[in-house]
């Protein structure tokens, strides 16, 4: 059952910012995540602020520098089927296409995808866990098959988004508008590790709205993909995955973005792997070496050590696919 809340539908971003600055206000983009959270009592809402009236936040358009601006309200389906994205930034198109199900992709937005709450079943269920302000993280001693092998401390969620890792790999930025004005930051900086604050996933302050995602112009010889491993064919979050954004020049990797998904509380960039790849020709040996390096330092919990070989396998396969 949904709680009772006030519903507002502002027409401008500044109205939205104002409405969202109120205590207990929640932004509603596609609502595919928000409504589930409210219905399941994960958190409450005093008011729900629909973003659907903000036409400025819709649509995909080229930027002057040859990049792309994607409004936060653009649906995942639109991102997935946009021919320009599929060509210039394939990891993002594939990430959007790998999320959820067709119905959810038609309704869910890119902004909502980045700001969605975690899927940890204790968080979503009837458990007063640390992320909800409780004392303990139930995953530590409990059912942690789907939890983090990197970056956990006090809380071991994995970031649920399938577009976040591609965006980090692509070095995308987001624009955020809030009571104090607008700011831009790399997608990588949007997310918060539990060691910093285990009660939130993004740095967004009350009243702040994510308005757009900016993709830098594609590099020469750009290649990329998103590989997601899941338990069933659709309607399922990543058990592990990897986003690759490479550029290849003269047969050698010129630049590399390598970001894991489904393994850490944030998209998990592996700079060592990126470094390893640059300047080398991508072949089976390098792919195997890179895959090994990608899972180095993993700290599996009692029930998720499978993620180490799984992610390693996914990285190796993904790199070979681009070789």
């Amino acid at each position: 059952m949904l709680p009772s809340f006030r519903y507002v539908r502002p027409r401008t971003v500044s109205e939205a910012v104002k409405a969202l600055a109120a205590e207990g206000a929640r932004a509603h983009a596609g609502g595919t995540d928000l409504l589930g959270c409210l219905r399941d009592g994960v958190f409450d809402a005093k008011s729900v602020v629909s973003l659907s009236g903000l036409d400025d936040l819709k649509g995909i358009s080229p930027t002057k520098d040859g990049g792309l601006k994607i409004g936060a309200l653009t649906t995942l389906a639109e991102v997935a089927r946009h021919p320009g994205i599929a060509k210039g930034w394939p990891a993002l198109a594939q990430g959007a296409a790998a999320a959820a199900s067709p119905q959810l992709r038609n309704q869910g937005t890119l902004g909502g995808n980045l700001c969605q709450r975690p899927r940890c079943w204790y968080f979503r269920g009837d458990f007063d866990c640390a992320r909800k302000g409780g004392e303990i993280c139930y995953a530590v001693e409990g059912e942690n098959t789907y939890h983090a092998i990197f970056g956990g401390s006090g809380c071991f969620i994995v970031h649920p988004s399938d577009t976040a890792s591609p965006l980090v790999a692509l070095r995308a930025t987001v624009k955020v508008v809030g009571p104090k004005g607008a700011r831009s930051l790399p997608v990588e900086k949007l997310f918060v590790l539990p060691a910093v604050d285990h009660t939130r996933e993004t740095i967004l302050a009350p009243g702040e709205v994510l308005t757009e995602v900016l993709l830098p112009p594609p590099l020469e010889g750009a290649k990329g993909l998103y590989r997601k491993v899941r338990s069933r064919g659709a309607w399922d979050f990543a058990l592990g995955g990897v986003a690759l954004a490479l550029s290849v020049k003269d047969g050698k990797v010129a630049s590399a973005g390598v970001v894991l998904s489904g393994v850490a509380p944030t998209p998990w960039r592996v700079p060592e792997v990126e470094k390893l790849l640059v300047g080398k020709a991508l072949d089976a040996k390098l792919a195997a070496e890179a895959a090994e390096l990608a899972v180095k330092g993993a700290e599996p919990m009692s029930g998720n050590d499978y993620k180490v070989p799984l992610v390693k396998g996914a990285v190796e396969e993904a790199l070979l696919a681009l070789a």
Binding site: W121, F127, Y138, E141, G233, A234, W235, P309, L310
Partner: protein, 765 residues
Amino acid sequence: MTDLLYWLQGPVPETEPPTAEMPPWGETKVVGKPVPRVDAYERVSGSAVYPLDFALPDMLHAAILRSPHAHARVKAIDTSAAEKMPGVRAILTAFSPGADVPWYRSRGRFYSKLFDERVRHEGDEVAAVAAETRAQAFDALKAIRVEYEEFAFVLDPRESLAPDAPLVHDGGNRYGEPARYERGDLAAGFAAADAVVEATYSTACEIHAPMEVHGSVAKWDGNRLTIWDSTQGVFVVQQMVAGALKLPLANVRVIGHYMGGGFGSKLEAGKYTVIAALLAKTTARPVKLFLTREEVFLNAGNRPANTMKVKIGAKKDGALTAIEFSSIGSGGAYPNGADTSFLATDLYTCPNVAAVDENVAINAGRARAMRAPGFPQGAWALEQAMDELALKLGMDPVALRLANVPKVSQRRGNLPYTSTGLAECLRDGAKAFGWETTRAAKKDDGPIRKGYGVAAGMWGYGGGPPARVVVKLFADGSVNVNAGAADIGTGTKTVMAQTVAEELGVPLEKIRIEHADTGTTQYSGPSGGSKTVPSDMPAARAAAVEVRTKLLAGAAEELKVPAAELKLEGADVVSTKDPAKKLAVTEVPALQRNQVIVGVGTRGPNVEGKVISMFAAHFAEVEVNVRTGEVSVTKLVAAQDSARVMNRLTFECQVQGGLVMGLGLGRTEERVLDRQTGKMVNANWHDYKIPTALDVPVAQEVLSAELVDTECNTAGAKGVGEPATIPTAAAIANAVRDAVGLRVHDSPITPPKLAALLAAAGKKG
């Protein structure tokens, strides 16, 4: 076992002889044809009113407060704040008058109450509210204050009998003594074997998860109660409600026209049914009480998890010499069946067999029969063990099974089957699948490995009495069929209309089925156990034959020829000797005088000295990614022996549905209980993973052995719903073994499990 028998092994009830003599059908005109559902339009257009859609003027909405703890005692309940909430009309707790109703009966005693002060699993009922709106009812639940004293709990059946295990019930954690079965000399059998395999297998607990949640609408007229229920059997609900409320059966009318799936979880009245009735009585208003999806996951039944140990021995030629099988499972916090040994004792010829089934209590939701209860679990263990045996013997797995096809049911007094298609299923399935050629062409390299697997199964319940159907032929030639059976989505109404059309020659559009209403239709047992076609169609046929006999007799009088000379042809009665002698059905004076001709058909007893069983062999092709542990099932072939196929379309629907459910058991479905709290962490559609369209292979083939069985019943058809899901998961497991050389003993076969196993085995692409 509980008293709610689904898998009937006891004596057949006393029955009247069938009302009409019926030779087996030869060639049929309507039966067997791929006829679309008679209610297809209603179902797809949304005009069919399911119980969940049902609304009455002035109706209240109810909701149930459930224990958040796995095991606790309710020390105090304070409903005062909730009572004052807007719209709240009644609150029921253990202390409310009339609510002291015993519940969960098994082996002659009750294990709990409608609201028990001791709650034994998360989701056990604590209180209920009726309010003007559903939202108000749920708001009120939140305002009820309950004080619990928490107890230690046990979740794993394998730990339930440990000396220090918490007691779920004060008498101990065993539901009855272990059920033992033995024949021959096990030790001698193993001594004579050339090869022996032994391993432990387990299946995860599955939830039925029907599309329509469980629930009822209750309405009183004085001391007479009417219930609209989403149920597989209106008469079972009538009996349980009448018993609980101490009402005469005649005062309880249960109606269940449409229902959105049950899979065995709706073979009984729920507590929700009785709670709705009590709230309706208290408020003097109709009350609607449907569970939420989460409640269905927690407390509307499950297929229990089972751990099974199998040891099999065979001679070099594949002849089985001994089978030892032991199983432990749990009916849950309250008794229900959890036995799995039947297949191991009856599917294959084997002289020396010992089996034992243990059923213990745990602090988790109570099991309910789930599509072939016990059998997919038993097949998971037995059929993987057979596969191992084939490997050890160096035999083709199909050949090994064919070498052990029994002619008689060893578990049931060595009685012969009315028909047995196990060998046909194996042979036809292998042929359609391309078993030999694909296996021969298999390559064992690269990161994606293909594998092929087979498994067989049987279902040993052929239906039976009591079942009664009334057919009315009206003066205009249209027909009304009155039958108590529920159509649980399998196509019962359609097949029944075909049966009657076959005998009366009336077009399907002129037949209307009145069904599943204890007030107006004839008694039938619940639709479960794959028994509805074999139980109710013979009764429908008998009723139609009686109508025809009366009609021909009436026509004979008018045409002045012996009735034996007459036949029905379309809308006419015609003489077989002189085609000029004919009379329109509607002109038969006996029909005109009475405006109706009525035929009553009953289901006669089953044939003596024989047993009725259905058989199946499933074949699976999988692709495993050895880097990531991903498994995709790329092809399934199901070969079924259900004797006559009553309707090719509904038959295929049943088999395809069975395959998908089997795929769920084998690949994706698993109830997960948190070891710290005993609470279910995946009580939702997303975390409890039912296969999606993308998990079900496009390449699916359904075969029928089409055996002629004139003895199983007068329709010549055995059931299909359950045998269609029994071997699927095991066939998939065997295919995975074939693909990567590793066996996953515990269902489901997920990337997490397989990635870990592959890594441990050092498998690489």
